[in-house]
């Protein structure tokens, strides 16, 4: 039985955990204490919502229990990446200005976590710099016709300016502008027409000012969702523009295009079939591939890895080709991402992995009996979660437990220094040093769920290369024998991938992460049912990711929201 002080310690420590499951940590805290162990299953989550989703109080007190019919949402600020995609798609600026001027978003593990978003003077200054930069480029004479469809008769051509305000404003604000708003922007025309020979200004000066203003406007920067009450006053039905915005940012990571805005205007997106049709159209867009590439890089932790530029380019090619094939080019069960018997290599990668060269310099190469299968064999994934320039069995174990099985891993006790490598012992061999993690029952309680996973991958270094012993120490043999606790022993990424698939939890954990990305925050207890519903669709479609996305978009839930009480 854990002593009182250590329970206090565990719950206090959780706030700082890097090792989050998609569900909120308070829930994990309960599970950890109840389970008296280092892993808890989110499937056991204590339900807070009522069955019928009436939103009634759970008994006592005045707090309204959240409905499980709709997800809580707030005004979510566009991530850096979403701003860049938007200015590229709507304005033609493909230079990634937000990436240059804005600080990186916090990754938890995704870059769109709205609970981490906080306005600040630094943000406002950076947004102003971004807006100025974009406007200068977009209004340059060679580019300006893209957003100015009319030829102005002079600096004071109000009709032409109005046209620009209406078309650009509708796209940037993702809704039509009111007459009052248009009039307000028209006042900027005075900067085009003022009598000021010392200053170079013309019609486009006013357009640039309009654009700078719009790009700094909260109605551009935040996806504001309001909705109108349904039968249940806590559950709100989104309007067409709000649905269009959700759909577009989910599938292609960018603002709705004109076709979506037209459908929104006609209120066609309240119809599930229309949403589905549009989602199919967007999934065929190359941007959908980029979006899924990014999602995987963040989910599986290989967003930025310590390798040379050449290797990174090669890993990028390999991994994106597999994702594309499984989801788009030769659609198969999503789970084949973790089991595919071949990989897209170039000569550099073939040498790195010790595999035959592809014909013609690049192409699909079978893994054969190499012990590799699926994305867990890729250099991208193998390079992530390294430590001290080598693999860390513990970190890889945490990766599998938290990102692939959605088990919560508690942080180490506060008074343990994890920043040191396992202590030097009589042996220089890594596996011998790692034995220190099993030395005590306290350490072992967590480490026995983590390290054995990593041991099974130790033959694959952080460059994805196969090795039989510690680097520089041939006497330190790496047997590469591991265990996925609860599921048996394995050796190498092919066997690990298969165990994960067979567990039935990999697919659920993927769905949880996808939903987390969609809602922009950790999941709440009332969303457990939604995860189950999505799992049902996923299985029914033989794990088709596109079908999963389509049923999510077509679900009633996609057009609903409720207020988020959490601050």
């Amino acid at each position: 039985m854990l002593s009182v002080s250590s329970i206090v310690l565990l719950t206090v420590r959780l706030a700082s955990s890097r090792y989050e499951s998609p569900f909120s940590l308070s829930l994990a805290a309960c599970l950890a204490v109840l389970g008296l162990g280092c892993q808890g299953s989110i499937g056991d989550a204590e339900q807070r919502g009522t069955g019928a989703g009436s939103g009634g109080s759970g008994g006592g007190g005045g707090t309204t229990v959240a409905s499980n019919l709709a997800s809580a949402s707030v005004a979510r600020r566009l991530s850096r990446s979403e701003i860049d995609n938007t200015v590229r798609d709507l304005l033609g600026d493909a230079t990634n200005p937000a990436g240059k001027f804005l600080q990186e978003d916090e990754y938890t593990p995704f870059d769109n976590d709205y609970s981490r978003q906080m306005a600040s003077a630094a943000l406002i200054d950076s947004l102003e710099a971004t807006a100025d930069d974009v406007a200068a480029r977009v209004l340059a004479p060679a580019n300006r016709s893209r957003i100015v469809p009319c030829t102005p008769s002079g600096p004071g051509d109000a009709a032409c300016f109005r046209q620009v305000i209406e078309t650009v404003g509708q796209r940037l604000f993702r809704r039509p502008l009111s007459e009052q708003e248009i009039t307000a922007y028209l006042t900027l025309q005075s900067y085009a027409t003022e009598n000021n020979p010392a200053v170079s200004h013309d019609f486009y000066t006013a357009v640039a000012l309009m654009l700078r203003s719009m790009l700094q406007d909260p109605e551009f920067l935040y996806r504001i969702e309001i909705g109108t009450p349904t039968k249940d006053p806590a559950v709100l039905h989104l309007n067409g523009y709000e649905i269009a915005t959700r759909l577009s940012f989910l599938v292609v990571g960018s603002s709705p295009d004109d076709k979506l805005l037209d459908l929104a205007k006609a209120d066609a997106l309240s119809d599930a079939n229309q949403r589905r049709t549009e989602a199919i159209r967007l999934l065929a867009d190359p941007r959908a591939r980029d979006q899924l590439h990014r999602f995987h890089a963040m989910w599986l932790g290989y967003r930025a890895i310590p390798q040379t530029a050449n290797l990174i380019a090669a890993f990028n090619l390999e991994t994106t080709k597999l994702i594309d094939r499984v989801i788009f080019d030769a659609p198969a069960s999503y789970l084949t991402l973790f089991s595919s018997p071949d990989s897209y290599l170039n000569d550099l990668l073939a040498d790195q992995y010790g595999l035959p060269h592809p014909a013609g310099g690049e192409g699909w190469v079978p893994y054969g009996t190499s012990g590799r299968a699926g994305i867990l064999s890729h250099g991208s994934v193998l390079a992530a979660f390294s430590k001290f320039s080598d693999t860390s069995p513990t970190q890889r174990g945490i990766f599998v437990q938290t990102r692939l099985l959605c088990n919560t891993v508690l942080p180490p006790p506060a008074n343990v220094n994890v920043d040191q490598p396992p202590p030097a012992t009589a042996s220089v061999c890594k596996l011998d040093r790692y034995a220190a993690h099993r030395a005590s029952a306290t350490c072992g309680a967590c480490h026995n769920n983590l390290d054995p996973i990593g041991y099974g991958l130790e033959n694959y270094d952080i460059g994805g290369r196969y090795r039989t012993h510690d680097d520089g120490h041939p006497e330190c043999v790496l047997p590469g024998q591991g265990e996925l606790p609860g599921y048996g022993t394995f050796s190498g990424p092919a066997e690990l991938g298969q165990k994960l698939i067979d567990s039935g939890k990999l697919e659920q954990c993927f769905v949880q992460h996808l939903l987390r990305y969609a809602v922009g925050r950790a999941l709440r207890p009332e969303e457990t049912g939604e995860v189950e519903t999505l799992m049902g669709s996923f299985k029914a479609s033989d794990h088709s990711l596109t079908e999963l996305l389509l049923s999510f978009v077509a679900s009633d839930r996609f057009a609903l929201r409720q207020e988020d009480p959490v601050q």
Partner: protein, 508 residues
């Protein structure tokens, strides 16, 4: 006879809007010292922060291994054996010596944040003490003098710079909060609070600006051009900028009226920040003259993260873990200097590297002759198998101190009153950690995860500070050094968080 002009007269005449006004000669009394009518010269306060400890894990002070060769070289550890003035210049302090600044700062050593060695329970933490988990546990007590309660990187009360900003008002900016390290550099995690050293209060961090280019423009674009031909354009741009921003702030009530309670708070904060920008823009620009000049545009920022294949870290990218922080720190120091000179602000914090920094130190140590293949955090934890212990850690510390020395040198070479700007400042150099008992296990010695044997440097002569010596304290709390520095620039109280009392030795 010089015309006597009081600062208040000038300021009042401008409608009460905050103005940056450099010290004009006509405001000095005949001794060139305090201003006429007893209005004192402005006092400046700054903190330069280094996200590293003072030694290598399990390596005694002065014990090192460089490229496989072990040695014990006295003078590698920052703290010299002698106290008082004229002490041996140690390895990390060399940049200060090179710039003849040894007489301009005090080295305060032996500082300690208390903690309970017997219990990890949060209730056992002594006042102003550390939760038994480094790095987060040590952050709050160092920055704000209030005990930490968890591993989180946070402060539970205001940091010293913000306290000073509260009473030491001058210019358009309450404080200038900047950071050299722009990215986290590890794919599986992110900053999570390590990027803050300035807090307005409990859990209220101030986001630093990391782009030197944006700092430059936000500080100096308001300057009236000296070239008459450019004045009309400048005026036009300013009016236009105000107009386009007011279109946004004009819609505040409508937007806030549409949304629910949670969104009101989120969006209100954003509108408030835009309004704050409007106020800054509306302020009269400083008068260029004397030492206050419109600096050269630094141009585009150095690229983030080294060779990025994609945009920032949105696609798989090379994580070389370095964004030319050397150039960034230098540019930011230049900007802080000129912001002080022009009295646009009197308070600044420069976080060179974040807590637990994973900045690649090979690019900074190789040029200094001690190539370390690790990141800053790993360097202290023996990350490079061949080069470990004191010399590599002190080399990184020396690199950080070189930026501090650069700033001090600029301040010292800026005449002001009878002396120079440094005479009217208190500028602190603050490393994240010391080199003593490990905070985590409360047992291991010579640990980097330590809030013992900490060091602070205090430069300047504001308010009676008497720099130049090594002051070895008997485990005084670092907060006492900060109280002293705050008092030097006008703080009238004796407490800081849960810490009480200055260090009289800093005042001679």
């Amino acid at each position: 006879m010089k015309h006597r002009l009081s600062r208040r007269t000038v300021l009042r005449g401008l409608g009460g809007v905050a103005v940056g006004l450099p010290v004009l000669e006509c405001m000095l009394n005949s001794h060139g010292e305090a201003l006429a009518q007893a209005t004192p010269l402005p006092k400046r306060y700054a903190i330069v922060f280094a996200g590293q400890a003072l030694g290598g894990d399990d390596w005694a002070d002065n014990a090192s291994m460089v490229l496989g060769t072990r040695s014990t070289t006295p003078g590698s550890f920052i703290v010299p054996p002698e106290t008082g003035p004229g002490y041996t210049v140690t390895l990390p302090l060399k940049p200060l010596s090179d710039k003849n600044l040894m007489g301009d700062f005090s080295l305060v050593s032996g500082l300690r944040i208390p903690f309970s060695a017997s219990s990890v329970d949060p209730t056992a933490i002594p006042p102003a003490g550390a939760f038994r988990d480094f790095h987060g546990g040590g952050a709050g007590p160092l920055l704000c003098g209030t005990r930490s309660q968890s591993s989180n990187f946070t402060c539970r009360s205001a940091t010293s710079d913000q306290i000073v900003a509260g009473f030491n008002k001058g210019g358009t900016l309450a404080s200038l909060v900047v950071r050299a390290q722009p990215a986290w550099y590890l794919s599986g995690s992110s900053f999570a609070g390590r990027q803050y050293i300035s807090y307005k209060g409990d859990a209220s961090p101030i986001e630093a600006q990391v782009s030197p280019s944006i700092v430059y423009h936000s500080l100096f674009d308001g300057f009236t051009p000296s070239d008459m031909g450019a004045v009309a354009q400048h005026d036009f741009d300013l009016r236009a900028r105000k107009s386009l921003l007011s279109l946004i702030t004009d819609k505040r009530n409508r937007v806030l009226g549409m949304v629910g309670a949670n969104d009101k708070i989120r969006l209100q904060r954003h509108f408030d920040e835009i309004r704050d920008l409007e106020i800054r823009i509306a302020a009269m620009p400083p008068t260029v003259g004397g030492q206050c000049q419109h600096p050269m545009d630094p141009g585009a920022d150095p690229a983030v993260g080294g060779d990025n294949a994609g945009s920032g870290s949105d696609k798989i990218a090379t994580n070389t873990g370095y964004s030319d922080e050397a150039a960034r720190a230098r540019l930011l120091a230049d900007l802080i200097h000129m912001a002080f000179v022009c009295d646009m602000t009197r308070v600044a914090t420069l976080q060179i590297t974040v807590f637990q920094s994973h900045m690649n130190v090979f690019p900074i140590t190789d040029p200094l002759g001690v190539p370390v293949h690790a990141d800053l955090h790993e360097c202290g934890h023996n990350g490079d198998a061949q080069t470990r212990g004191q010399i590599p850690v002190s080399t990184c510390l020396q690199w950080h101190i070189s930026h501090y020395a650069y700033l001090l040198d600029k301040l010292k070479n800026t005449p002001e009153g009878a002396g120079n700007l440094l005479d009217n400042s208190a500028i602190i150099f603050m490393p994240e950690a010391g080199h003593g008992t490990q905070l985590n296990d409360a047992v291991s010695l010579n640990a980097t995860h330590s809030v013992e044997k900490m060091v602070l440097l205090v430069a300047g002569r504001a308010g009676g500070l008497k720099p130049g010596g090594h002051i070895a304290t008997a485990q005084a709390h670092p907060g006492q050094v900060l109280i002293s520095a705050m008092q030097a620039v006008g703080y009238t109280q004796d407490t800081f968080g849960e810490v009480t009392g200055k260090l009289p030795a800093l005042f001679g």
